[in-house]
């Protein structure tokens, strides 16, 4: 799939995803060994993005299963299309005299509503799809246990049809925000990687690749500002996603240099909690900005 880690790195950075060596190794080994990769980290550090970029790089379908509490097999796997089955029965009734044959073939594939997991296993074509199981920590224990079975065999049994096996087992990416600890049994079947907040240098590279057209000076200031904020104690520290949003916003506003006023006006891009915003407003904002050192002012 990828010839080496360097090959993977190149293809990822072509797509604008800057990753460190540890993450690249995990992804590379995951695609080589056919083992799911389990990504944990704070919100907004680019966990979901890994799956998207992976699908783009491999030029294959991305199938996404967003987890939530109460997610069950009917929404994750398959469900019969009951209304259509009933209509079919009615039509058969009207059409034929042979009562015995009515209802014999309403459990065919055309009456099957395929949900993400079944789609991932049954993808047509000759490339394995990328299956993104997003925010697994939001689902419950029962669903985790159910996933174990799917992830180890990549086969699904539908009583009315039979067992469906994956022709090309999907490349599986699981993400978690760690609102709760995921069971060891599931984690052990995966390669694990913790995505941390990026270093200043890495964040600069990310901004440069994701926000084309931004001035060097401004992006330096932005990244410095974000790094400083992350070192402070906020309820929700901003991730890389916020950095990129903010950079886009500043660019759209035609701002070339950070000042206290511009920061105040665009604070909503970075901090999403009222308490955090108030806290920052009480601080001496210039301290955050001056850190970057601006020769022009």
């Amino acid at each position: 799939m990828f010839s080496s880690i360097n090959d993977l790195e190149e293809q990822f950075s072509e797509q604008g995803y800057i990753a460190d060596h540890l993450l690249l190794t995990s992804i590379y080994l995951s695609t080589s060994l056919g083992k799911p990769i389990f990504l944990e980290g704070e919100p907004g550090v680019g966990k979901t993005e890994v799956a998207k970029v992976l699908a783009a790089v491999l030029d294959t379908e991305l199938i996404r299963l967003q987890c939530y509490e109460g997610l069950d097999t009917y929404t994750a796997l398959y469900e019969w299309n009951y209304p259509r089955q009933m209509l079919e029965l009615r039509m058969e009734e009207a059409r034929s005299d042979d009562k015995a044959s009515i209802g014999k073939d309403i459990f065919r594939e055309e009456f099957l509503l395929k949900r993400p997991l079944l789609r991932a296993i049954q993808t047509p074509g000759d490339k394995p799809p990328v299956l993104l199981i997003d925010e697994i920590d939001r689902s419950d224990h029962e669903f985790e246990a159910f996933l174990l079975e799917i992830l180890s065999d990549f086969q699904i049994t539908i009583p009315e049809i039979g067992t469906i096996r994956a022709v090309h087992p999907p490349i599986v990416v699981l993400t978690s925000n760690r609102t709760r600890e995921i069971h060891d049994a599931l984690k052990r079947r995966c390669l694990y990687h913790w995505i941390d907040y990026p270093t200043l240098e890495k964040e600069l590279r990310i901004v440069k690749s994701r926000v084309p057209g931004i001035e060097q000076q401004l992006s330096r200031q932005i990244c410095h500002f974000m790094q400083t904020i992350r070192s402070q104690d906020f309820f929700k520290r901003p991730g890389v996603a916020e950095t990129i949003d903010w950079a886009h916003a500043l660019l759209a506003l035609g701002i070339e240099e950070l000042t206290e006023d511009t920061v105040n006006a665009t604070l909503g891009c970075i901090l999403k909690y009222k308490d955090d915003i108030e806290k920052l407003q009480h601080e001496d904002l210039s301290r955050f900005i001056m850190d970057t050192g601006n020769p022009q002012s």
Binding site: H21, G70, Q85, E181, R188, Y192
Partner: protein
């Protein structure tokens, strides 16, 4: 540069395998649980990476063997210690080798214990920020040591506690289950039934949100050293008992007594009086290992289910056999979802979990928390609420 399909270690040789097993053991000794399947997968990785490069091997080992963020620093430590030692001398497979490694393992385990101790200190209540509690008489009460409450305060404390427990007791699952009535129609069933007998849907079927049942097991130490706290802790248990039907309670010191049936009688005060009469070893010595293994042997199979949280209330002063205690705690841990140890002494800033009982149990616990005032119990309730999800 790395080649397309590196083949330097097509089949990893024995000494490499031995090293890998030793390495995974060293990690195990440092408290990182390792699955053999993952060690095998790591070996499979060798055909994809160049293990002569340290950073590649490091990345592969980390992603394969560690599955918790909190284990990262410990892994790094073991990785450095183990491979530095290993790489600095030729690979041999003698017995001496193993002995040397045992040494490093012990050193790592010691280091790790030091780390755990310091993180326990972080839990001391003096440093806990209780940002959400406003000033109120309740607050003062919630910080008072449980051992020093008088009767009136106890009553008040009990009210506070009941409120707190009520919040966690009735957790409704998001999953639904068929019901006789309700507001939520069960279309899936209705259509299925229609498909069976060919009738139009006319009988309305309902569903409702299922109530989640988590079982709680409390093992409460009532030995002499715990007497100061036991009165209050029993209150805590009783409050739980009234709110959650699915609680089992056992008290122990040198013997284990299951008191769930006793709690069935109404008043808490009355129950308390019953206790000291009926339990022969009230305020006696302690043999935690014996008592827990008694529990494992006689009660575990009927009381424990998958979704069970076991809470041990004890100060860990133990006069029994350490090996027995270890086996007992391990056995208990295997059979429950979470194992929580509450220790009233942890409230003391200078306390270090040095007494033998705690030292033995510590590696097997999911949580080790203070339980000396209401505030710490509130923390417990919060934790339970989280596990409940």
């Amino acid at each position: 540069m790395i080649q397309a399909a590196p083949t330097i270690h097509e089949s990893p040789n024995t000494s490499l395998l031995t090293r890998m097993v030793q390495f995974s053991r060293a990690l195990g000794a440092a408290g990182i649980s390792i699955d053999t399947a993952n060690v095998i997968d790591l070996c499979r990785c060798f055909s994809y990476i160049d293990i002569r490069r340290k950073h590649e091997f490091y990345a592969a080992a980390k992603t394969n063997l560690v599955s918790r963020h909190k284990d990262f620093s410990r892994f790094d430590q073991v990785f450095e210690t183990f491979w530095q030692k290993t790489l600095s001398r030729p690979v041999t497979e003698t017995d001496n080798d193993d002995v040397a490694d045992e040494d490093s393992v012990r050193k790592i385990a010691k280091e790790q214990k030091r780390m755990m101790d310091s993180s326990d200190e972080d839990l001391t209540p003096g440093e806990q920020q209780s940002s959400h509690i406003e000033y109120s008489p309740d607050e003062i009460l919630s910080r008072r040591d449980l051992g020093s409450l008088n009767a009136e305060e106890l009553k008040q404390a009990r009210r506070l506690m009941a409120k707190l427990i009520a919040a966690i007791a009735n957790y409704k699952s998001r999953r639904r289950t068929p019901a006789r009535s309700g507001r939520d129609l069960n279309f899936r069933r209705m259509l299925r039934r229609t498909a069976l007998d060919g009738q139009d849907p006319c009988k309305l079927l309902y569903r409702r949100r299922r109530i989640r049942k988590t079982k709680l097991i409390l093992l409460c130490d009532v030995s002499g050293s715990m007497e100061r706290y036991s009165r209050f802790l029993i209150q805590f248990i009783c409050a739980l008992r009234h709110e959650l039907p699915d609680v089992e309670v056992a008290v122990f010191s040198t013997r284990l007594t299951v008191i769930t049936p006793l709690l069935a009688s109404q008043g808490t005060e009355e129950t308390l009086r019953h206790f000291s009469d009926r339990i022969p070893d009230w305020a006696g010595g302690t043999d935690i290992g014996q008592c827990i293994s008694d529990f494992n042997r006689h009660f575990a199979s009927q009381m424990l289910r998958l979704r069970t949280i076991a809470v041990v209330l004890s100060d860990g002063w133990d006069r029994g056999d350490a090996d027995q205690m270890r086996t007992a705690i391990q056995g208990l841990r295997r059979n429950v979802q979470k194992l929580i140890w509450l220790n009233p002494l942890l409230g003391d800033k200078n306390y270090q979990p040095l007494c033998r009982g705690i030292e033995t149990a510590l590696p097997h616990l999911d949580y080790f928390l203070p339980a000396h005032n209401l505030e710490s119990l509130e923390k417990l309730a919060e934790l339970l609420r989280e596990i409940w999800r």
